[in-house]
């Protein structure tokens, strides 16, 4: 890695004692010698293991649940179903008033995705919990499922989630989050070329080294200590407090070094049910995802579809951009309504375009619920935007890098979501990339600056 100190030197105070120094990490000896303690390194006498009975169907009504055989299995201590959860229907962003509550801790009457938790089994050993889980009999009536966002939005599509009543999240702005800037139709009318293209992505896994999990210990004084690898301590505590209808003062969450998160550990999935198990049995409980659960049960990055329509002039100026973004939340909201909204603010990318129209939808399907992941709401949008930029440049016979200089945002430019640009540095990044990659551009672009003239 190289630091290019020549850029923005006038804005920076160098020569500090600790900042800007590549000090060795104080925790790295522990990591490399295997001394760092993770939550799962804690073992407590009498600790129970929790395993979930999961839905084998993408969408089904639950006719009946029979746990009688599982209860007789040696080592089983407690079996939990929906009726045991004090506030079973929840949604994590209710903490910032983004409702409605739309997800069950344990399925109640219906499952909406393959892998959904239905019954929790607590047993003396992991093996006993697993074997007993296999003996739980759930009688399902399979329902039609929908796996495609466009299909889900058509009239007559199977309704995925009754708590929403339609297969999209209803914002205060309506069926999508909207950004309106300038007059996009007038922009298209004046454009020399119009290009409309569609981009799609698949869900992907966060792939942390350490799988999601927690260990809960009843402290004997009505308090519970939850050792967890959540990315957000109080966020998880507060949600657990709601689900368990237990004052937050009864909960003590302890984190530490986490073995990778990438956004996969900001859902609140393992902690509430493990605390409930500890409360009802009076014993420590651990609930740790297997690698299979981490990859197929925990929320992936959402599948997305992005449709971009651009109006561009022969001289390289983009005069209008219309983006319709679809985020596949899967069966439940989790963080997806936020991600779709974050996407609305991110378009049209780091470019100054006078006429912009953005609609972003959060859509429900019977896929695995998606949620936050590194680049949440932005990564797939950037893929779409930057491939589109390449196509536009070639459409008008211009160098792709020079084309970006022409449209790059600079300090003071008004963005589509009505915020002035501050601290821009796109131009300088492109100038340095031009040098580093030996990708020459015309001298006038190398002379540009993110600073506005006279500023």
């Amino acid at each position: 890695m190289e630091l290019r100190k020549s850029y923005f030197a006038d804005q920076r105070k160098d020569g500090l004692h600790e900042i800007g120094q590549g000090r060795p990490r104080l925790d790295s000896p522990g990591h490399v010698m295997g001394k760092t303690a993770y939550f799962a390194d804690r073992n407590f006498p009498g600790m129970l293991h929790l395993k979930m009975v999961r839905s084998p169907h993408h969408h089904a009504r639950i006719r009946s649940i029979d746990t009688s055989e599982a209860e007789k299995h040696p080592g089983v201590v407690k079996i939990l179903t929906a009726k045991d959860v004090p506030h079973n229907v929840y949604t994590i962003l209710i903490l910032i008033q983004i409702g409605p509550e739309d997800e069950t801790v344990l399925a109640d009457g219906k499952v909406r995705w393959k892998g959904e938790a239905v019954v929790a089994v607590l047993a003396e050993t992991e093996r006993a919990a697993q074997e007993a889980a296999a003996k739980v009999k759930v009688n399902y009536e399979v329902l039609p499922a929908v796996f495609d966002m466009e299909e889900a939005l058509k009239p007559g599509a199977p309704l995925v989630n009754e708590y929403h009543g339609q297969n999209y999240y209803l914002y205060d702005s309506g069926e999508c989050r909207k950004v309106r800037f300038g007059d996009v139709e007038a922009g298209f009318a004046e454009a020399d070329h119009i290009l409309e293209q569609s981009y799609q992505s698949s869900p992907i896994e966060h792939a942390p080294t350490e799988t999601t999990g927690c260990v809960v210990v009843p402290e004997g004084n009505d308090r519970f200590t939850c050792y967890t690898n959540t990315q957000a301590m109080f966020f998880t505590l507060d949600n657990a407090s709601i689900i368990l209808q237990m004052p937050g003062s009864k909960l003590h969450f302890v984190g530490g070094t986490v073995g990778g998160g990438f956004g996969g550990k900001v859902d609140v999935i393992v902690e509430p049910i493990a605390i409930l198990g500890a409360k009802l049995t009076g014993r420590p409980v651990c609930f740790i995802y297997s690698r299979e659960e981490e990859m197929q049960i925990s929320s992936p990055r959402a599948a997305e579809k992005v449709v971009i329509k651009d109006g561009v002039m022969k001289d390289g100026r983009i005069v209008a951009r219309k983006v319709t973004g679809y985020t596949d939340a899967g069966a439940y909201s989790r963080h997806s309504p936020y991600g779709a909204q974050k996407g609305a603010a991110h378009y049209p990318g780091p470019y100054t375009i006078p006429n912009v129209w953005i609609d972003t939808y959060c859509v429900y399907t019977n896929r695995t619920p998606s949620s936050a992941m590194r680049g949440f709401g932005v990564t797939i949008g950037d893929f779409a935007l930057e491939v589109q930029m390449d196509k536009l440049a070639r459409l008008i016979g211009m160098d792709p890098l020079e084309f970006r200089f022409i449209n790059a945002y600079r300090d003071g430019d008004m963005k589509a979501h009505h915020q002035p640009t501050e601290g821009a540095a796109l131009i300088e990044c492109m100038q340095e990339a031009s040098r580093a990659a030996n990708w020459p551009v015309a001298e006038k672009y190398m002379a540009m600056s993110s600073y506005k003239k006279g500023a």
């Binding site: 890695m1 190289e2 957000a232 970006r404 790059a408 009505h418 601290g423 821009a424």
Partner: protein, 334 residues
């Protein structure tokens, strides 16, 4: 049939924080009689090194070496509130809270030192090595250890500080979408060079040259580790990863690292990282949040390089050999 080479570019920006939900983080700092400083937080270190960065920020602000700062974090009984480690917010939000707390603690420390040295606190400075000196008369000095002892046992002062950083919640305007979703923006431009085998559809990423503008590299070694890792993740996202390889059929999703495709060490491109620093107005020592941004530009850069190599556009991720071959076949047919 041939191996074809191509180059592609992408340029992006990325927001720091999550103002659409309100974005607070707090920190507490206090000294112990050892002369060490404790920073108490509830922020989570995901392995990226949040604790180390908070220690360096606190050390710089108070004026002590980093190894004199201890980070106690991720405990809801002892730590003040933090929204969490996500949205590229950890360094920026928690760092600002630590600065505010450390400034308050530093002020008390200088006041105690001033009493011991019988000068005004405003005439004192720190040498960054654990001493407080009189400006212009460095022979007149006191160690921070002695100041801590004096504060505890003689002067009855608590060398401590409280820090709070809050970005108030922004509510998007319904009709126009006017909103302030984040604070500062990090930037990047990536050029990727690939080889595509037009017989097998296989892509080899030869080089990735990443230029990142991150506000301020608080610890350049850690910046490098995060940016190189992110660049690798971006390539993986572009070419390999999916939890639903046979979508819309949901069967046969990967359930372990043998089945879930990611590049191995032999698949890693030659990676170059260049960092620019345009300090953000509201960041801790100018830092922005590059943690998420650094995995994004490689994806379109690789896609564009593949087009440059073989003349087909794959607009669906991941860009698998199968998709490339189907596109080449369609291209040949038309």
């Amino acid at each position: 049939m041939a191996i074809r080479r191509g180059s592609g570019v992408a340029a992006i920006n990325y927001p720091t924080g999550m103002n659409l939900g309100g974005d607070p983080t707090q920190a507490l700092v206090h000294s112990t009689p050892t002369g060490n400083f404790m920073v108490t937080l509830s922020s989570v270190d995901l392995g990226q090194g949040l604790k180390q960065i908070m220690a360096q920020i606190c050390a710089e602000t108070i004026g002590v070496p980093t190894d004199r700062v201890i980070i106690d974090t991720a405990d809801t009984d002892t730590g003040p509130h933090c929204m969490g480690t996500f949205a590229s917010r950890g360094t920026h939000r928690a760092g600002n809270a630590v600065i505010q707390a450390a400034k308050e603690a530093r002020q008390v420390m200088l006041e105690v030192a001033a009493e011991e040295l019988e000068v005004n606190a405003s005439d004192l400075e720190t040498d960054g090595e654990g001493n407080i000196l009189v400006k212009g008369a460095p022979q007149k000095s006191i160690s921070i250890f002695d100041v801590a002892l004096s504060a505890h046992f003689k002067r009855g002062r608590s060398i401590s500080g409280r820090g709070m950083f809050l970005i108030p919640r922004s509510y998007p305007e319904k009709e126009t979408g006017a909103m302030k979703p984040s604070t500062c923006y990090a930037h990047a431009c990536t050029v990727a060079e690939v080889e595509v085998d037009d017989e097998t559809g296989e892509v080899t990423v030869l080089t990735v040259k990443n230029v990142f503008e991150i506000g301020r590299a608080l610890n350049p070694k850690m910046v490098e580790q995060q940016l190189v890792g992110g660049s690798w993740m971006g390539i993986s996202h572009a070419l390999y990863e999916t939890t639903e390889p046979y979508y819309p059929n949901r069967d046969h999703g990967g359930t372990d690292f043998n089945q879930y495709l990611m590049p191995g060490p032999g698949d890693l491109a030659e990676t170059e990282i260049i960092v620019l620093e345009r300090p953000s107005a509201d960041g801790p020592y100018g830092a922005k949040g590059p943690g998420e941004m650094c995995a994004n530009p490689q994806i379109p850069a690789v896609a564009n390089a593949i087009f440059d190599a073989v003349g087909v556009r794959i607009d669906t991720l991941p860009i698998t050999p199968e998709r490339i071959l189907r596109a080449l076949k369609a291209q040949a047919a038309s």
